[in-house]
């Protein structure tokens, strides 16, 4: 990142809450924050930053990368979870600098010496920034921590070249899709519109129209809901030239409904994962629910139904696992795809992982949070396929005999509002006083 290029630039970087920041503003703020931090940092350290789609998060993330630090963005619910912090320390064997949303840089607790373990970090170039994405695996440890080299992503965006002017920060800031959105935007001095993380179709489409966004990166679920809300009709999507979506199977009827109202929109089925970033694809214009990987940028192949990719933005390594799913240069994604002519249709990954509108988490994470409610004796969370949002959460709880269901549901509602991220709220709750039934149910989930 060359801040000199941004100094004096009147191009808008970010629209947020009716305020705008130019690239000049960003460069000045990054310089000021860099100066303040540099005096206190003696060596490369590992930062965990509480993240949301906001100027503050972007400024901190980019500044730390600019300073050659290692950064993990973390959603609030994990950032404040003591068990998650212990997990990080244990898995990586290092101390972290935790930077909460409201904390000024001057009050950060920076250890005098907090060397990162040589085994995992010694080969990193001193002046380059690196970021870490939390992902999940289908076997073994639940969370994998994926180390990425910022420079690989910048190189990719330069090769692809600018293909939009304004986009919307839809994906969670801490996800690979959220990070790629930010990095691609700054690579070409494009504009970004941010509106927090809890987005409704009405809010999003208003912002797309207000800021004349031309490129919208979202999920199939959100497109379903946008159509259910009737927001595809009218002129709110009239500035869009391209809609990109991935992460879940897309519904052709929904894409066609949007296309019928807005024939100017090109549909782009993306493909990516935390370990390899978002890949460049070619989408079938006749059926935009299928795609190919673009061999000029990231060749792909299908071996026994599973995708393997040679990505420009492959991870350096996992920080908490020694082996990598690599066959030479080919990364094994373990995603099942079926062929439709020359194109692929993603069938998804197996396992317990829940993918709810692009937010990925395990049933056990929800179970752990719900187990904190005093009235719950035991809890089991399962996922179920759903047409509107891809997957939903069904919660079975064991309560004490004689518990009044109406009272319990009210308490559960209040508990969820206080303690669970909105995307972990259960969609169906089944009450039981029979723990045997619950135990059998658990076994089914773990098959």
């Amino acid at each position: 990142m060359d801040l000199q290029i941004w100094l004096g630039s009147t191009k808008i970087f970010l629209h947020e809450s009716q305020q705008s920041k130019t690239y000049h503003d960003l460069a000045i703020d990054m310089k000021a924050l860099s100066s303040a931090m540099q005096a206190r940092l003696r060596e490369r350290q590992f930062f965990v930053v509480e993240a949301e789609n906001s100027y503050t998060t972007y400024l901190r993330f980019l500044t730390l990368l600019h300073l050659g630090q290692v950064v993990l963005l973390s959603p609030s619910y994990q950032f404040h979870d003591v068990a998650y912090r212990d997990f990080l320390r244990t898995e990586i064997g290092a101390d972290f600098i935790f930077w909460s949303r409201d904390q000024e840089s001057a009050s950060l607790s920076i250890p005098a010496s907090a060397s990162l373990p040589n085994k995992k970090f010694a080969d990193l170039k001193q002046t380059q920034g690196y970021f870490v994405v939390r992902t999940s695996g289908s076997s073994g440890k639940k969370f994998k921590l994926v180390l990425h080299d910022l420079q690989r992503f910048i190189t990719k965006y330069r090769r692809i070249g600018p293909h939009f002017q304004k986009t919307f920060a839809f994906s969670p800031a801490e996800s690979i899709a959220g990070i790629e959105t930010l990095l691609e935007v700054i690579s070409h001095q494009c504009e970004l519109v941010a509106a927090g993380d809890r987005l409704s179709p009405a809010v999003v489409t208003d912002l797309l129209k207000t800021y004349e966004v031309d490129y919208f990166q979202t999920t199939p679920t959100f497109l379903n809901l946008l159509v259910v809300a009737g927001q595809h009709r009218g002129d709110k999507l009239s500035s869009l030239r391209k809609i990109a979506y991935g992460s879940e199977p897309a519904q052709l009827t929904v894409l066609r409904a949007i296309g019928a109202c807005h024939p100017q929109i090109e549909f782009m089925h993306t493909y990516g994962m935390s370990e390899i970033g978002i890949q460049k694809t070619l989408t079938n214009p006749q059926d935009p629910s299928v795609f190919q990987l673009d061999a000029k940028f990231n060749p792909g192949r299908r071996i026994e139904g599973l995708v393997e990719v040679r990505s420009m933005t492959s991870l350096i390594r996992y920080l908490n696992e020694d082996s990598l799913p690599l066959k030479g240069e080919w990364f094994q994604t373990f995603d099942h795809v079926e062929m439709e002519g020359e194109y692929w249709r993603v069938l998804g990954r197996t396992g317990d992982l829940i993918n709810l509108a692009g937010r990925k988490f395990f049933p056990s994470e929800v179970e752990t949070l719900l187990a904190g409610m005093a009235d719950i004796q035991d809890v089991t969370v399962v996922k179920e396929a759903n047409e509107f949002v891809g997957q939903i959460l069904i919660v079975k709880v064991v309560v004490a005999p004689g518990t009044d269901a109406k009272t319990f549901h009210k308490k559960l509602k209040e508990f969820c509002e206080r303690n669970l991220p909105f995307y972990m709220h259960p969609h169906k709750v089944i009450l039981s006083e029979d723990s045997e039934m619950n135990n059998r149910f658990k076994k089914v989930r773990r098959l």
Binding site: A357, K413, L420, H425
Partner: protein
Amino acid sequence: MSLEKIMERIIQPALDRASDLIPYFEVPKDPGRLVLFGLPGAVLDSLNLVSFVFILEEEVERATGVQIKITTQDVIETETPPFSSLGNLEQFLSRKIKEAA
């Protein structure tokens, strides 16, 4: 079933149950102008809309004995978004119940 009965026997009980079950969901004092989903001021967001759909399907079955399934395709085929107003929802449910009966 008349539109009035659909409101009284299906939608109103569904709203009451939703108030007890769905996080952040509250029925306003003047439910006549309620926007459920998709327009500014809506009381349901993208993810808890699904919970309301389940409740609605259950209330339809309880009140009529008829099982319905609300799908994306139904909504695409509807001229007016069914969750934008209670009036639209009445019309939508009336059609679904007739089709399923």
